[in-house]
Subunit: 137 residues, 2 copies
DNA sequence: TATATATCTACCTAATTGGTAGAATTAGTA
DNA sequence: TACTAATTCTACCAATTAGGTAGATATATA
């Protein structure tokens, strides 16, 4: 399961994508339409902005807009941003690689090869699914 | 990522599978070989037994053995047992279905269809990977 | 009877999740 | 200049989950 934060992020991105190339959207409006607690959404939009997906403007007439084309943003990207590694075990993660602390020797680990395959495949699935996929039906 | 509990369960199952059709294995020995805290492993083996994968015998000369053929036990099964739903959102889960509490109307939900596809595919991947897959190389 | 084993129940600590609160900053408008 | 509307920043918080530990009990064998 993904965290609510991640789900909210995707919902917000969908809303912003529907408005792609148009005007600014207000946090309050997105929150209302997507049914997300406003103060929580603030943090999420900020994170999305820092990650380069959104632009914003402060003050009267301000808000958020989508900077990146909806087809360029994948579920894998957003999942990694909010929930971390896609891999089932840390030792086969790409962006979040870590040694497994119960592993004596990675080279002879029985789990690694198989989990690597699983990760590659699920990553492919999540990469093929973009924000645009959610909109066009 | 899967929980350590789930990972430990898979490691233990692999060990037990290597011994499939032979004698009993001791919790202490599995714990040592697979580098798992013994008391923690006890709980895990008990859960696996209750789920029907293992048989056991108490007392001197006792221990655990694998009841089900290693090729019949999938990563999806064990993941579901210890970590719950494979789906990214509760509303597309099979065994763990729940309404999303931020969802106004499931029928017109933009997320559902796409997340359903993702779940079906990742579930397939995890179902093709069995305990036997980890052993034969 | 002594010992070795699984089984059961309870407990614990730290991190994470899913938020809330409120002040500061920035920009437009009257 | 003062007001207001918006993002941005920092701190906090309660409940849950993760990852265990501790100790007693039941059961089987030698």
């Amino acid at each position: 399961m993904m965290s609510k934060k991640c789900k909210y992020a995707i919902k917000a991105l969908i809303r912003l994508a529907e408005n792609y190339g148009k005007d600014y959207l207000l946090t309050a409006d997105i929150a209302k339409q997507a049914n997300i607690p406003k103060k929580f959404l603030e943090q999420i939009l900020l994170e999305l902005k820092r990650a380069g997906y959104l632009g914003s403007k402060q003050g009267f007439g301000g808000g958020y807009y989508l900077k990146v084309h909806p087809k360029k943003i994948t579920v894998a990207d957003i999942y990694r941003l909010f929930d971390g590694a896609i891999a089932l075990v840390p030792c086969v993660a790409v962006k979040y690689y870590e040694r497994c602390d119960d592993c004596r020797d990675e080279k002879i680990c029985l789990l690694r090869e198989e989990f690597l395959k699983i990760k590659d495949k699920t990553r492919d699935v999540m990469k093929k699914s973009t924000i645009l996929s959610f909109i066009k039906k």
